[in-house]
Chain length 452, copies 2
């Protein structure tokens, strides 16, 4: 079959209009008050895939529903399972958005909206990619779509869904577009993702808030204590101090370190892009190595005491923080969570009680760079960008990747359409219109290449 | 003149009803939306004092108004200035109140309401004390009331008011009831108060919130940085590490340490009363010494990143905390604030920028225990409680005490009616009905004793 040039056949206006409609639904999976919006989003996707001739349905789970669709018209050809998620991060802090998070707005060639790049825009690019190919005839491979609604809260119910439907979901390769390319105009294939262990620390001091004058000097202060605990979780070399944290980690290979050192990266430009004067982290590793190949610990949120106007002289009864650790191959999220749960009480100051709640985790994964699927993706990307792809890892985590490899026993192929500067998870998240359109073309060409 | 027994003459029902009316007005000085309530509270007090035959007026300031009233019918007799404040702390966290903070409710002999003990209840006891004496004839001394509305926000405008009205406010002694007695049934005269330096720390990392996967390991995390800064402000002996912090402090005298060691205090009972297992603090000092006679540093509030439901994998752009230091004689609030403003940038981790905002301060004060005024208070208390008073200090701060001593050049007499267990500044603040009534009697007897 002759590789088609589909660029001219893509109705970009129509593609944008459909994505905007999808982005207008506030599908925040973490917010219990938005359950109805979640259902509306799932139905939107089911209806669209149904129109394209897919056998599509919305599947209930113990949490938010899954959208499953399949079109199996290529007997003897490979089966491709395309995974994406239609849920998005909370929009807070709302006041920092230039335009409303759920009213998509194009500025300077970018679509600004929560979920524009993570992951509605990238997932929908595959839907449009399939539609584009169908406009030229039958799909050259069997295609299955699995679009979930709980990725941003750790996919608590997807494992069960995968186990119960393993036969139906069976595929030769799983394609995921839920991350960032290395740089603009740099087609990227990602062969590794970090894992995640996410916990919440609760520190309790007195049985009530206390007057800091009447008690200051004798009453334990849970906020000071929480800060001490957090400060003790890392040493002055940026290393995590939790005993056993680094045990079993696969060291970076010289080949990887050389490959990454050769990528177009500048610490100065990177620091400037986020407006900071330094890039602190684990000693002995480059910035890319620290983000892609080394584990980290970051506090994602903290609270306690008086946060309002003016001053309040109080010693709070309790304080809390959300802490996440990014993990690399060789680290097991469940084990890391257990280690921090054992360690925090040991480093807690006298007089307070601590609790470490387990939010969720995700397995770190690394893939072989010479599989035929990665080669097919390489060819597809070259057809869109006119240059070969670079091989990178990502610092992000896709918790269900491990489930795919374990339960469906299929290799996972990461072909990302987004960029870090899209600011996923932040106010003013965006997705370049050009990247969205390239994603649609890449998806269509990838199905062609996989069909060869 | 024969000491009168006024106990039988006190209409307790009426006294309670009036206080409840006062407590129903949400006079939160820190909340800009409650300016009208502040004005209503001031007018309530002016009207009451006017009815008692005081020349009473509400005086505008650059902030919330001051209520001033005087009745000068005792030529040749001493003049007593009674200070109190009608503003209250914010009620947050509202959900922890058993009954609404501004709907006074009596349970188990206690009046539950914001401001019940700090300071509406204690200040109004003096108003009722004067009324009680007037029911028997003219006041035996000249009495002036100064009731301000900005004590809980650091009395930013009172200094100016005192300077501009120094002549009118002139007094032989200033009486303040805005604190706690040592224990139930223990009449207490407080001869020292701690000072205060209150600052707000702001830490800025990147120019926007970042995805903790894509940036974790390289981007500075302002929450981790804030925790490190706060942890570094104290050493493992509970001492504040700010260079020069302890310079010039008047050491506790052996006499004071012995006197306090003799007071009925049990660390076990104290810890149990606030539900903690230990009382951490500066090494080498007893609990009472740490609260009354030594400086401290406490974080009163902290915030940053995601505080909502579930998990959000974000590296916040900024974080902040409110930090207060209680000071003792020999420490100057302005100097301490300058020291921490110089120190924090020095201990801030790389990659973040910090800002230390000055909220407000208060001078520490210590008084001589053998003045005739303290003796008069001792006699008045003995008439109410049937036992001599104990001499204590308080860990709290009354920022304007220094202004009184400096500007009005009059000694300040602390006769407190409340208790620590009243939980001022906390949810479910309360004031024992009995303590309120004893306060009224103490106030009346004190005026008699001062008139001798």
């Amino acid at each position: 079959m002759i590789p088609s040039d589909l660029s001219g056949a893509l109705d970009r206006e129509q593609a944008n209009a459909e994505l905007f409609e999808l982005l207008r639904i506030p599908s925040v999976s973490a917010d219990p008050t938005r359950a109805a919006d979640m259902a509306r989003t799932a139905e939107f996707l089911r209806a669209k895939l149904g129109k394209l001739g897919f056998a599509a349905r919305v599947e209930a789970t113990a949490g938010h529903p899954v959208v499953y669709a399949e079109r199996l018209q290529a007997p003897g050809r490979p089966t491709v399972l395309i995974y994406g998620h239609y849920d998005v991060q909370p929009e807070a802090p709302l006041e920092e958005w230039t335009t409303p998070p759920f009213e998509p707005t194009v500025r300077d060639g970018r679509i600004y909206a929560r979920g524009s790049t993570d992951d509605k825009g990238q997932a929908y690019a595959h839907v449009k990619g399939a539609e584009l190919l169908l406009s030229r005839g039958e799909l050259p491979v069997n295609v299955k779509f699995l679009l979930e609604g709980e990725e941003e809260v750790g996919s608590p119910n997807l494992d069960t869904y995968l186990r119960e439907n393993a036969a139906e979901l069976a595929a030769d390769v799983i394609v995921i577009s839920d991350g960032s390319r290395f740089a603009p105009d740099v087609p990227t294939i990602t062969y590794g993702v970090r894992g995640l262990s996410y916990v919440e620390l609760h520190v309790q001091g007195a049985n009530r808030d206390l007057h800091s004058g009447s008690y200051g000097g004798a009453a334990p202060n849970p906020i000071n204590a929480l800060c001490e605990i957090i400060a003790r979780l890392k040493d002055d070399q940026g290393r995590v101090t939790i005993p056993g944290f680094y045990d079993g980690i696969e060291p970076l290979t010289d080949e990887e370190r050389e490959m990454w050192a050769g990528l177009p990266h500048s610490d100065e430009a990177f620091a400037a892009s986020i407006g900071v004067s330094a890039l602190p982290g684990e000693a002995g590793y480059t910035t890319l190595e620290r983000i892609w190949g080394r584990p980290t610990l970051d506090v994602n949120g903290i609270w306690g005491g008086y946060q309002g106007e003016g001053s309040k002289t109080v010693i709070a009864a309790k304080a809390g923080a959300k802490v996440s650790m990014r993990l690399v191959p060789g680290q097991d999220p469940a084990r890391i969570t257990r280690l921090i749960q054992e360690y925090v009480p040991q480093i807690a100051p006298a007089g307070v009680t601590v609790e470490v709640l387990d939010h969720h985790g995700g397995q770190p994964v690394k893939l072989s760079t010479d599989s035929p699927y990665i080669r097919a993706a390489d060819r597809a990307l070259e057809r869109v960008y006119g240059k070969p792809a670079v091989f990178a890892r990502t610092g992000g985590s896709i918790p269900i990747v491990a489930a795919f490899t374990e339960i469906l026993k299929a290799p996972v192929l990461f072909v990302d359409f987004g960029l870090n500067e899209d600011a996923p998870h932040s106010p003013n998240e965006s997705f370049a219109v050009q990247d969205y359109h390239n994603g649609i073309l890449t998806s269509a060409y990838l199905l062609e290449e996989l069909g060869k």
